[in-house]
């Protein structure tokens, strides 16, 4: 008796699977992570209660979540848009860091009132983010060099460049710490009244709306969708794959750079050499979860913000290492990938069936 597994590509994905996927993956990730909690003698349900409920029901928790969500949403959008065109912007982290560097430099060295200084800082970040993402974009469009490799390599270069600058030319003259001086008040994002959260939140939400409109209301969004689905057909339709690739990556780079600005000018007020937040990598599961439209990216960003803030509380209140959140994050990606598989193929496990090497041909092919 032989054991056979037969994979048949699905022609369409069952509705319930599409909607259930995000929910299932999150639940699965949390379930598996409870093993890690149990290993440290921590009751999972109790831990998750602290993680989610506490975060969402206290004023402090909500405020921290919104602050945390700002760079996550922006970075998520930075990965989401290229993904729609079929590209992986794995270098969002590097673009983010350099955006932080450029804007901090401007904030520290240019004296202008806030109404001019802040836009200037964002402008500096725009230039830097565009270049850092634009180079891999051109390499991909012209010579088909894998953008995953190039954006990744540039991320590490960016982190080192930032570290060098912060320990050297940009280092604060007071004290000998690897950090810059505190940004002057004019260079800091104002606090939104009532919410007690910095204006970066507005930037993030506006960006999300703009990306959403771009994708759903403009011709360019149409081209992005088409190129991402079938670039050969797109070229038959006269669309320029090169233009689409370069533009989505450049916009992505700018968005990621904005995340860097928002985080420093809004939250941390100075740039530290240890600024390696990992938002650029978290952006990947965020983009995957929010894959269908930019507003879902906001939701996914908020979810991860809750995770991070909750994780901090968890480590303070229950002594659980904050690394648990990294584990949960990785598991979410893991289950998302697995779900992707089940969406594409239906699996039949059979016994007593010899697995045949069938070459399935399209109907109506020659011969």
């Amino acid at each position: 008796m032989q054991f056979g597994v037969e994979l048949t590509p699905r022609s369409e994905v069952p509705r319930w699977l599409v909607y259930a996927t995000p929910v299932f993956t999150i639940l699965a990730a949390l379930a598996v992570s409870s093993v890690a909690l149990l290993a440290l003698d921590v009751a999972p349900l109790e831990a998750y209660r602290v993680l989610f409920v506490q975060t969402l029901t206290t004023e402090f928790g909500i405020r921290e979540t919104l602050v945390e969500a700002v760079p996550l949403i922006l970075a998520g959008l930075a990965v989401y848009l290229p993904l729609k065109a079929g590209l992986w912007n794995v270098g969002a982290e590097g673009q983010l860091v350099l955006g932080a560097v450029a804007s901090t430099w401007v904030g520290l060295n240019v004296s202008l009132p806030a109404v001019f200084l802040l836009p200037l800082m964002f402008l500096a970040a725009t230039v830097v983010g565009a270049i850092w993402a634009g180079v891999p974009a051109i390499l991909k469009a012209k010579w088909d060099i894998n953008e995953i490799i190039t954006t990744l390599l540039l991320t590490f270069v960016a982190a080192d460049v930032m570290s060098y600058l912060v320990r050297g030319p940009m280092q604060s003259p007071t004290g000998n710490f690897p950090q810059t001086a505190i940004l002057p008040a004019a260079a800091q994002l104002p606090i939104l009244p009532g919410l007690d959260v910095h204006a970066g939140l507005v930037v993030a939400l506006v960006a999300a709306v703009l990306v959403y409109l771009l994708m759903t209301r403009t011709r360019f969004g149409f081209e992005v969708t088409f190129v991402g689905s079938n670039d050969a057909a797109a070229e038959h339709a006269g669309m320029s794959k090169t233009r689409v690739y370069v533009l989505v990556l450049v916009i992505g780079g700018v968005l990621a750079a904005f995340a860097g600005v928002a985080e420093i000018a809004g939250n941390q007020a100075r740039l530290r050499a240890a600024f390696e937040p990992g938002y650029g990598f978290t952006a990947i599961p965020i983009a995957l979860l929010g894959r269908d439209n930019a507003l879902n990216v906001v939701l996914a960003g908020l979810f991860f913000a809750v995770l991070f803030v909750g994780g901090d509380s968890l480590s303070i209140l229950m002594g659980v290492p904050a690394a648990l959140i990294e584990i949960i994050q990785a598991l979410i990606i893991l289950f998302l990938i697995t779900a992707e598989f089940f969406k594409r193929y239906s699996v039949d496990i059979s016994t007593d069936l010899r697995v045949r090497g069938v070459r399935a041909d399209a109907v109506g092919e020659d011969h």
Binding site: S229, A232, A233, R356, G357, V363
Partner: protein, 546 residues
């Protein structure tokens, strides 16, 4: 050299969704004979051979090799039974050497572990564990290399087996494929359209090799649609048509014309009302067009073509003779390497695809799934694929999806595209071949093009849709569009065209009209069965992929 039947395939039946590829086919081959398997594209030749070679499994019917039943589940089974296949698309790893390619998968251990080795201890040769390790962790190349080089020299192949494959040309690569089979000691060799990639001289060399092999007892099956080859090299030939066996004959006893008749049949599917339309200005003017294929080999070797308003010019030819490259060049998707293309009086040679589209050129590509539509996207997306830039879909950067939806809805209704509930929800990939083709046609025709290029528009499409599509083409002709129709279906060409051109190996080899044409002659020319007209250009060494 005839002998008993070495291969017998009895009542082979194989169906795919919507199509019966092999309909109770009987096929047998004698020992030491070269047997041709002749038929048009879609006749079922390739399917039959893939069943023999273990790539497909038949729905019913039996295969006998040398008196023993063969149930091949994989190519390995077929190879073990002595059946080898030389594919059209070579299965070679360019980075590896010839010898490495040939021994790949056979896990030959190094010399000292081989069974025939003398001078080494029997422990090395016979112990199972040692053999298992040796076959994995050593690489026996020297003895096999010598053997392979020997084989190659015997048949005059002129190949250095230590050379990496990427250095070799196509003719040599094909010989490596043959060597692979010979090395595996096959008794029956299947060649799938082997001359599709060869020059006439190389083809002649191949035939010599095959004759030599046959004289030594090897049986050869030669799949082809080219009549010249059948008469040149085969002893007997079996003709397939539409999935059934027409007949098996001694090659010498038949004329090419008779074979063509068997291959093509004489059914006329549709009676179409074709009104005479007075043709107008030239919409397309092509001079001395040269186009390369994806391998940078010339596929179109100097074609002149002109099409007027309200005229359908039919290009008859078997797929793989440069039609794809020609069609793509005419619509600006593939750059021409030489020559000029003028559309509606405007020179468009070298312009972007967008420029061609803007000049009123529409295209129904051969490969609707890869080039004609994005399968994951909705019917609406695919409907506006080319027109989305137009002002009626929004001003400036905005795209009015509501207008797009209405437009798509109208197209779906007017062109009877079935299987679409909501145009924004139904995915193009879910449509049947015929309905997708109708959608594509709708999109391409609704913009009222000046020039339409349609490459195999009814291939793989159900009968009802075929009729619809042909009617639409005629209607568009009436409306004044100039149409270039490329098709393998001679009936279609003759029913629809005002003028008929025959394409063979990248050249136009004949021009006629439906009224005055000699259909047999056209059919022969399509299949290379006759010399082209005296003052036509000689077919240059061109090739396409089949």
């Amino acid at each position: 050299m005839a002998g008993d039947d070495f291969l017998r395939m009895e009542k082979i039946r194989k169906t795919f969704p919507g199509v019966v590829a092999n309909d109770d086919v009987d096929f047998s081959v004698r020992r030491g004979e070269i047997h041709g398997l002749l038929g048009e594209n879609g006749a079922g030749k390739s399917t039959l051979m893939k069943i023999l070679y273990g790539l497909y499994t038949q729905d019913s019917g039996t295969v006998w090799i040398d008196g023993r039943r063969l149930d091949a589940d994989s190519p390995q089974d077929a190879i073990d039974a002595g059946v080898g296949m030389v594919h059209q698309h070579f299965m070679l790893v360019p980075r590896l050497s010839v010898a490495e390619n040939i021994v790949l998968g056979s896990r030959e251990p190094a010399s000292m572990f081989r069974e025939e080795a003398d001078g080494s201890s029997s422990l090395l040769r016979s112990n199972r564990l040692v053999r298992a390790l040796a076959s994995r962790f050593t690489l026996g190349l020297d003895a096999p290399s010598a053997e392979i080089q020997d084989l190659a020299d015997t048949y005059g192949f002129d190949i250095d087996v230590t050379a990496p494959v990427w250095e070799l040309d196509i003719g040599q690569r094909q010989r490596i494929e043959i060597l692979k089979a010979l090395y595996r000691d096959v008794d029956l060799l299947i060649l799938d359209e082997p001359t599709a990639v060869l020059t006439p001289t190389e083809a002649e060399r191949l035939f010599e090799t095959l004759r030599q092999l046959a004289s030594e007892g090897l049986s050869v099956i030669f799949i082809t649609h080219k009549l010249t080859e059948v008469t040149a090299v085969t002893d007997r030939v079996t003709v397939l048509r539409d999935g059934t066996t027409v007949d098996t004959v001694e090659t010498d006893s038949c004329t090419r014309a008779e074979l063509a008749e068997m291959m093509v049949g004489r059914e006329v599917l549709f009676e179409l009302d074709k009104e005479t339309v007075s043709t107008g200005q030239p919409v397309l003017d092509v001079t001395d067009l040269h186009v390369e294929d994806d391998r940078s080999i010339e596929a179109v070797g100097g074609v002149d073509l002109s099409v007027s308003e309200g005229e359908i010019v039919g290009l008859a030819g078997v797929s793989g003779n440069g039609q794809r490259e020609l069609a793509e060049a005419l619509v600006g998707v593939r750059p021409a390497t030489a020559g000029a293309i003028t559309v509606g009086g405007r020179e468009l040679t070298g312009s972007s695809t967008q420029a061609f589209i803007d000049a009123g050129v529409s295209f129904v590509p051969e490969d609707r799934d890869t080039h004609g539509a994005a399968g994951d996207l909705s019917v609406m997306h695919n409907a506006v694929m080319k027109e989305y830039r137009d002002g009626r879909f929004g001003d400036g950067v905005q795209l009015d999806y509501d207008a797009a939806e209405a437009y798509a809805q109208r197209l779906v209704e007017e062109f009877d595209v079935r299987g679409v509930g909501d145009v924004t929800e139904a995915e193009a990939g879910d449509l049947s071949g015929g309905n997708l083709q109708k959608l594509i046609l709708a999109r391409e025709l609704d913009r009222d093009p000046n020039l339409l290029v349609a490459n195999q528009p009814t291939r793989g499409v159900d009968v009802g849709a075929i009729e619809f599509i042909r009617d639409e083409l005629l209607a568009q002709r009436q409306a004044g569009t100039g149409i270039v129709l490329l098709s393998e279906d001679l009936d279609e060409i003759f029913d629809l065209s005002d003028r008929v051109l025959v394409v063979y190996e990248g050249d136009i080899v004949h021009e006629t009209t439906p009224a005055t044409a000699d259909r047999n002659r056209v059919s022969l020319l399509m299949n290379g069965g006759k010399q082209p007209d005296g003052d036509e250009k000689r077919a240059v060494t061109t090739r396409g992929e089949a």
